[in-house]
């Protein structure tokens, strides 16, 4: 039952996972995050760029990321960085992701379990 739930959460939590992973390397602002997702996924993952901000705000409220405000070319800009609890959350999400993608690969590769072969 717990495994089932985790599967659902994993699908819904993909944008969160990507953002947390990117912020692990260095602090970034919204536009940078979107560009990094686009470039690193070779333009496979694209979305309305404005929707990144509600996600970032929600991560901030959960204290998974912290912010720093700055003025760049006269414009206010908010930089996001990963907090300690964000690092923990990222580690747990990466572990869930690895487990589930391995399970999916096992199915796609046509591996059979012992009980099936018996």
């Amino acid at each position: 039952m717990a495994q089932k739930k985790q599967g659902k959460e994993y699908i819904q939590g993909v944008p969160e996972l990507l953002v947390l992973r990117l912020l692990k390397d260095r602090e970034m602002y919204g536009y940078e995050i979107v560009q990094a997702i686009r470039l690193r996924s070779q333009e496979t993952i694209q979305f309305g760029e404005g929707v990144i901000y509600p996600l970032l705000h929600s991560l901030q409220k959960q204290r998974l990321v912290a912010i720093r405000r700055a003025k760049v070319q006269g414009r206010p800009r908010v930089y996001y960085r990963l907090t300690r609890s964000g690092q923990k959350k990222l580690a747990s999400k990466v572990s869930d992701w690895t487990r589930i993608t391995n399970a999916i690969h096992a199915i796609l590769d046509g591996q059979t379990s012992d009980s099936e072969t018996a």
């Binding site: 739930k5 659902k8 959460e9 819904q12 939590g13 969160e16 602002y29 919204g30 536009y31 979107v34 979305f47 309305g48 760029e49 404005g50 929707v51 901000y53 509600p54 996600l55 705000h57 929600s58 409220k61 959960q62 760049v72 414009r75 206010p76 800009r77 908010v78």
Partner: protein, 225 residues
């Protein structure tokens, strides 16, 4: 996304009841993002820029952003969405809850002592005077722990402090509540100790179950985000 669209987004968010500070911050971030996209497009070679999406297309529609704001807000636990309400109201609710549980539990145990029908609870029995102090504090602690598991950590010290302060302020004598409660139960409903024990147990189990349910739903909300 044009300035007019941004203005419309701000109006829609205001109608949805989001704070002015939040809306201002979101609009500022989107404006900055839009400026970055404009700079990016300006710096591109002409051939490349023909194939790129416009700023409006890339930013997403107002409806998409509004939907994202709503989804992320709804997925937040209650305590994160309304921290002030949580801070002010939940301790008051827990104060009532812990007082009720304290009275119920003490009532059950002291009634068992007074009627001599403690049964298998007998080894757990303590002097009535001790019960006056110990049970409310114990129950406040349990309620605080439940609150902590519900991801509202501040409620643990607050609940314990409030129960103690409340009892002192209103000069609540838990012992008096216990004895009078037992007498009322005995006189009005003619309950035997076993029936009383059953009622209090069911009540307590219900409270624990509801606490666990709150905790479970909060956890799901956080993880589903």
């Amino acid at each position: 996304m044009t300035p007019k669209q941004l203005e419309q987004l701000a109006i829609s968010l205001t109608h949805e009841g989001y704070s002015r500070g939040y809306i201002r911050r979101l609009v500022q971030e989107i404006q900055d993002h839009r400026s970055c996209i404009c700079q990016e497009i300006t710096n591109q070679p002409i051939e490349e820029s023909r194939n790129t999406l416009s700023t409006i297309e890339r930013m997403g529609t107002n409806d998409e952003i509004l939907a994202a704001v709503k989804v992320h807000n709804e997925l937040m636990p209650f305590s994160k969405r309304y921290p002030l309400v949580t801070f002010a109201a939940l301790p008051a609710f827990l104060l009532l809850l812990t007082t009720a549980i304290a009275v119920c539990l003490s009532n059950w145990i002291v009634y068992s002592i007074s009627t001599g029908s403690g049964g298998f609870f007998r080894p757990l029995l303590v002097p009535v005077e001790t019960a006056h102090f110990v049970f409310p504090i114990l129950v406040a602690g349990v309620a605080g722990l439940v609150a902590t598991r519900c991801r509202v950590p501040i409620l643990f010290p607050m609940t314990t402090a409030l129960v103690t302060a409340g009892a002192a302020l209103f000069q609540v004598d838990f012992g008096y509540c216990v004895v009078s409660g037992s007498i009322i139960c005995r006189q009005h409903w003619e309950l035997n100790p076993l029936q009383l024990a059953g009622i209090w147990s069911a009540l307590f189990a219900g409270l624990v179950a509801s606490g666990l349910l709150v905790r479970r739903s909060n956890r799901q909300l956080i993880l589903a985000d």
